[in-house]
Subunit: 314 residues, 3 copies
Amino acid sequence: MGRSLTSIADLSDEEISHLFDLSRIFLEVNEREIPKVPALRGKTVATVFFENSTRTRLSFELAATRLSADVLTFTLGSSSVSKGESLRDTAETIESLGADLIVMRHSSSGSVKLVGSWLDIPVVNAGDGAHEHPTQALLDALTIMDHFHMNSRLDGLRVAIVGDVLHSRVARSNAQLLSRLGAEVNLVAPPALLPLDLSLWPVKSSFLLDEVLPQVDVIYMLRIQTERFSESILPSMEEFSRSFSLTANRLGRAGKGAIVMHPGPIIRGLEISAEVADSPRSLIRTQVKNGIGIRMAVLYWLLGTDRDRVDPQW
Amino acid sequence: MGRSLTSIADLSDEEISHLFDLSRIFLEVNEREIPKVPALRGKTVATVFFENSTRTRLSFELAATRLSADVLTFTLGSSSVSKGESLRDTAETIESLGADLIVMRHSSSGSVKLVGSWLDIPVVNAGDGAHEHPTQALLDALTIMDHFHMNSRLDGLRVAIVGDVLHSRVARSNAQLLSRLGAEVNLVAPPALLPLDLSLWPVKSSFLLDEVLPQVDVIYMLRIQTERFSESILPSMEEFSRSFSLTANRLGRAGKGAIVMHPGPIIRGLEISAEVADSPRSLIRTQVKNGIGIRMAVLYWLLGTDRDRVDPQW
Amino acid sequence: MGRSLTSIADLSDEEISHLFDLSRIFLEVNEREIPKVPALRGKTVATVFFENSTRTRLSFELAATRLSADVLTFTLGSSSVSKGESLRDTAETIESLGADLIVMRHSSSGSVKLVGSWLDIPVVNAGDGAHEHPTQALLDALTIMDHFHMNSRLDGLRVAIVGDVLHSRVARSNAQLLSRLGAEVNLVAPPALLPLDLSLWPVKSSFLLDEVLPQVDVIYMLRIQTERFSESILPSMEEFSRSFSLTANRLGRAGKGAIVMHPGPIIRGLEISAEVADSPRSLIRTQVKNGIGIRMAVLYWLLGTDRDRVDPQW
């Protein structure tokens, strides 16, 4: 088993800092007339998505392409999985085909780590169930850091993560990473959408978004999965939306410098209003852009020949 | 908003002529042992198809590849659109990912232009509802021109566009472009499949194919969308086919030099007989081939560093 | 019509031997830091799969990529075939788009050869109905050869091909190729799953796996298509599995040096137990790896400028 990235906990503080440095270099590369470097020429990156997520998959594939790697796309629809092939056999086949790294999304928590334990090549978790989505947390941290002109820490910044925390791998990875970087994280959700036991989470929690807003620098809205609201334990969608949807009016309660983030895809009018999504305070598009830099950094770090340095010729 | 190609009306006469010149250069490139030029190296072309059309999508993607651009394929099936993401958010995300140009197909007339108004990168209309399909018209005009050994005009040529004109974006773009180039366009369809008001179209119209055939140089058959014929206002499929299907027998009424064209995919025996489709008078395969040249020209013209010239080194 | 590979019978003994030599060269290339050669730069390989098979498609596409060819992926889901386009028109369109070679899978026996007869470019059969799958047989032969340290023949080796022989294109291609190379092939299946007339097959047959096992060097397990077992003529799945599933216990009856192969995807616990699949006697992963080499060899042989030699500079 090679080194992999399945969880924020896999990374040391030094490695996190190194990934931010690499990302900033690659984001500069992306501004060039020809935004490519030959760093991973001849390497093959396989994206293996058992759950659909075009935006995340394309982000990884474009990152690989910009590092001059080849891409092998494996999606569920057209796969042998429907013929009854096991996860292990699928993964081993992709390794045997010649993939040098697997980027994987799956609906089961822990599945990506399990696959990593079977293979000799690195795996990158692009989302496993309600567990983790580490590259999302890294790109979010980088976005916050750059916006507030901080270098590698987030000390003192106050971040509210708002919405369906309970089912969110994004919330889980972000809470961990942002806390480690020094931010004060507040999970804001109705009781039924918060984890039962938060004692191990390095966070505060709150049921009332309106009370939290005046004291935050970052309002991180989670995606609403509408299908959840059929479960009877939850509040109705209307009820939820009334208290937790980020409208322009509600955003007025936050400080002037507070920014709005969202992992996407957003549903305008549900968790966030169109006016807020398009306002200059929204960093949603910057997050997408930074995602390419972070994913280039992660791929280079796991596959580059000299991962701790970058070629000054680039 | 950058320059885009959403409609034939976007193009000046000089630009149309320039695109034909570029296409002929690129079609020569395509005959080489290594049919590639480095013109768009480092650029990323995204194909964003909300309606399936493998042939059109592959034509654009191959054109991009031959210009050394990278391709990012976004199709509906696997996308966040099914999670409720708006067209605007999808388009902005693709731009933020780093696409330099979007080639888009969508079922709504005007949607491609709308997307172009939201973005800073060019968009190319690969078919929007019953509105337009400008690269199809360009490749068709080029095919006719080259067949009749004309350089950049179609003066005096008589073109019949036959079939379901009412619902056809191909008819709309072709009628505009071919007329501007000097051709005399005749729309041939049963009354229920012609637009109600043709006063703004620079064309003639006719209900009787058999009468038109002896006087045309180009018989342009439109695709029949069989699902239309369930609508009660239309003639039955059999009735339509009896009068408008291009059989070898019917083709005999046309002059010897008249050619047959079709945008594809064809259904043999429905709008066109197998014998006609495979005859030397059919230019269907030439149309497909010229499509690569036109799309290379359009991509180069919108993305090349010096779009008005091409590198003599190629 | 150019040269194609639709069946093992298309190949002379010299050509088979040459393909093995090429494969071994390309498998060495695949071990390099940058596993690519510029052999097919500028060529476009189209994969046209009317039946899903991600593993086979990706194997061909990766092979093409490693030879520096461009890839054009055409899959049924998103294609005009659903609009009623004929196989011939689909194939001709792909050729007109600029493909230099088509790799095709289809559910109809003989369809790939038919397509080859319509086109000027080579076609490679990646599985046509219950007919043939020649690159699978080539990679299997290479795997056996290399394991037993033989150069280009399999003289004296005893191979049991076990399972649903009747419906298997893999069995058909393997029986032909392995026999031609000198192996003694034994088809092992219940009577209902053997072809009625084996007189033209250069093989023995048997109904009892347990009796065959002590006398074989290679146990080649076929994939079980569970949907077959609803047909009343067949034994029940349980009955079949009891007699033909390769468990560790049953494998104990074979000689110590006997190896286990399977074309994949496997269903653990059905035709093969997990213990056997993961044992060092299983060459399943080596088959997948060798598939890349064989497919690189086939593509190079059909498209390379000097197909009988390889550039010593590689």
